[in-house]
Amino acid sequence: MPRLARSEWYDLTRDMNWDLTYATEEEVFPELLSNGFGVPTHDWWTWDEPYKITYAEYVHNQAGKDAGLFSVNNVVGRSKIFENLDPGWLAAVTAHYGAIAVAEYQAGIGEARMARFGRAAAWRNMATYGALDETRHGQLQTYFPYQALNKEPRLDWAHKAYHTNEWGIIASRHLFDDMFTANDAVSMAIQLTFTFETGFTNLQFLGMAADAMKIGDIDFGSLIPSIQTDEARHAQQGEPTLKILVAAGKKDIAQALFDKMFWRAWKVFALLTGLSMDYYTPLAHRTHSFKEFMEEFINTQFIDQFRDFGLEPPWYWDRLHNEMSWVHHAYHLGVYFWRPTVWWNPVAGVGPEERAWLEEKYPGWNDSFGTYWDQMGANIRAGHPELTLPETFPVVCNSCQLPVCTPAGYAAGYLDSPLPLQLTVDGRLYTFCSEPCQWVFEQTPEQFAGHTSIIDRLLGGVIQPPTIPGALAYMGLSPEECGQDGTDYDWAHATAPVTAGPAASGAA
């Protein structure tokens, strides 16, 4: 090994900051691509990454990690492991690949933006590794499903999803474009790396990895923690950026950037991970409820971390806690009922034992959300599964792009009103699922005002014909791709018949 330790020469790889002469600061670091928020140029040069790595160390480590992963994938591909996965887990994995694989590749565009427009050479170097990392994650998370495509054609969505207007993908694009593909370098360091990767991705990946191994999905259980080791490194671009903003008296700006993206991430996270943890993961392998996971990792560990930087919990903290008890239950009902509109096969996850677990983790679940499932189970047992399928569409929030579930939150006793929030701007009516979503919209109206939700498009004549089949075609879902009950309604027949509740109807 070369004689000089990394610490002896590393600073010479990261001091390439200089005063421009032949171009202006605004020409080289324009505000749109690199919002300096008024922090003096030389202050940015103090940017100091907590995790040091050299290029040689990077390629040595990464080559070793990839060699191991491809070996696992090769072995798993020759086995029957995939064919024998639990249907709930298959739903979780298929949903994950569609929502995440190409999005991670796109995060590489965000990293490349920080690697070009980050305001210190040290930062640009870390982001250069980040751009490579996200290339890796996009490629691995498409390569793995590509190898299993002959076993599960739905894995086509690992590649196809972001080219479609499927509603969950519209919501994901709306989030991720705002967070990285179309965000400036400084905001992105706070919003992508600190808020999303340090907070949420950590939770999603570590949680799913642990579950995958218990379930026997060695492929996914090897892939995800390997990705997480990269995330844990490049996520550390947030902390030094935050320190510089706070030291320059820009704490309010950092707080607003954080608050906005934390809420945005929460909504999509509740949809993707909430369903995976509380309904799709087989009961025997669950260690936490989604709410417990949120409380432990985000509300305790993560909040402690950002308090260390002088930030405070967001202003909507009470609403977040409120939603943690119910919103993903509402989303799960919605996804199941509108299952033709998703690319995976949702499982209900409400057999007798699962219901007992849900009641234990969310006291009152049986008397609130359980009643909708009682009704759907009764319809299925009565030979009318068509009554558990949609004839119309829900209202969608103009901020998070997810269905407005306030009636379910109200009915379950968590909200004071079933009504959504509405706002008229320049003669156009916008609908929001919650105060934080409206607040997000009002922070940067120029970013969002002209965007149309999928329901705006349905009502505005963009989706033709404006029917369920017309909308499914618009979403890129062929009849055979539309989601179906993942267990062929086993759950309904395993449930004791229910006597209470209204007569058979499609209400859910």
Partner: protein, 335 residues
């Protein structure tokens, strides 16, 4: 259970009904850039949002445009896994090379007059090479297809590689010949003020103002980078050899492999563009009319430093080598 029963697809549905199953290189890059030419706007936000306008103007609206960029392929067909494996091997070689010369104490034996040349010519290099890294990543965030993005990002990482080896050797020189060689000011000072470096700095600062993705690619990969690669990887290697510095000569020569890979994908992309639309030759030529003279001026500024070495290289030959390198790459856009 229950995987979905349907005809078993050969590849991603978006790649069509193919006869041959696409390679993992193709399957993990083809059509990844979903927002390119997306309607009504690239990103899922207000179609008139500033970022949508930026990409519509400088990517979709670039004069450097063909019908289908997805047809371009990296001649090296590198996936991420291939790239890190390749460079893992090359970095292992450089580690061994460094071990060998450290055991031989070859830095301590360098002629002080040659170290003085290195102070002027070698030590500041990390500044301009960092601009090549930055601009590579600009191309990486603006290019229309992942097949180009990946090439650009790997190229930028190669710049980081070269900078770090230069930094390491700078520290080695400081240990043997004076701590101030490893001071930031020893590099930044000439970069900001010395006359020899100013034409290069002017060219590179102007490069950082380019927003059109096609112009950024042409200016960087066809003009500035081939010229600088010729100076840094070939001419400096030759100069080191003439001055008895075998380590530096071999180290700089090692980077010729990375530079060749850059030229390979650059000429492939130029050739692809002109084949798709012959009018692209004029587009490239138009930008080169600006950037070729700037690259030339940058090298002409540095070249006298080669003439000042104890065993010098003729500055005119250094400039000619850089000019030839640019012409060699640019020729791919005229065939």
């Amino acid at each position: 259970m229950a995987t979905t029963q349907r005809p078993r697809p050969k590849t991603w549905s978006l790649l069509g009904d193919v006869k041959r199953r696409p390679s993992s290189y193709e399957a993990t890059a083809a059509k990844f850039n979903y927002h390119y030419k997306r309607e009504p706007a690239p990103f899922e936000m207000d179609p008139q949002a500033p970022f949508n306008r930026l990409y519509l103007e400088h990517r979709e609206g670039s004069p450097f445009t063909v019908e289908d960029w997805e047809g371009f392929k990296d001649p090296a067909k590198l996936t991420y896994a291939d790239y890190v494996m390749l460079q893992h091997d090359r970095e292992t070689y450089v580690d061994l090379l460094t071990d060998h010369h450290e055991a031989a104490e070859s830095v301590a034996a360098l002629d002080p007059a040659w170290v003085a040349t290195l102070r002027d010519l070698f030590v500041p290099l990390r500044f301009p090479l960092h601009v090549l890294q930055m601009t590579g990543l600009y191309v990486g965030q603006m290019a229309p297809t992942a097949f180009i993005i990946n090439c650009a990002n790997f190229q930028a990482a190669d710049e980081l590689r070269r900078i770090q080896r230069i930094a390491y050797h700078t520290k080695s020189l400081a240990v043997g010949h004076g701590d101030d060689l490893a001071e930031t000011s020893t590099a930044r000072g000439p970069w900001e003020q010395s006359a020899a470096w100013q034409p290069l700095r002017e060219t590179l600062e102007r490069l950082l103002t380019v927003r059109d993705w096609g112009e950024a690619f042409v200016a960087l990969n066809v003009a500035v980078k081939p010229a600088l690669d010729a100076v840094v990887d070939q001419q400096l290697s030759e100069l080191a050899s003439r001055n008895g510095d075998e380590y530096l000569s071999l180290l700089m020569a090692e980077f010729q492999l990375d530079a060749q890979r850059s030229r390979d994908w650059t000429t492939a992309l130029l050739g692809y563009a002109v084949e798709q639309d012959p009018a692209m030759a004029d587009v490239v030529a138009g930008w080169l009319a600006t950037w070729q003279p700037r690259a030339h001026a940058a090298v002409a500024g540095l070249a006298p430093l080669f003439g000042a070495a104890p065993n010098p290289l003729d500055p005119a030959l250094v400039v000619a080598a850089a000019d030839d390198a640019v012409l060699g790459v640019a020729a791919a856009a005229t065939r």
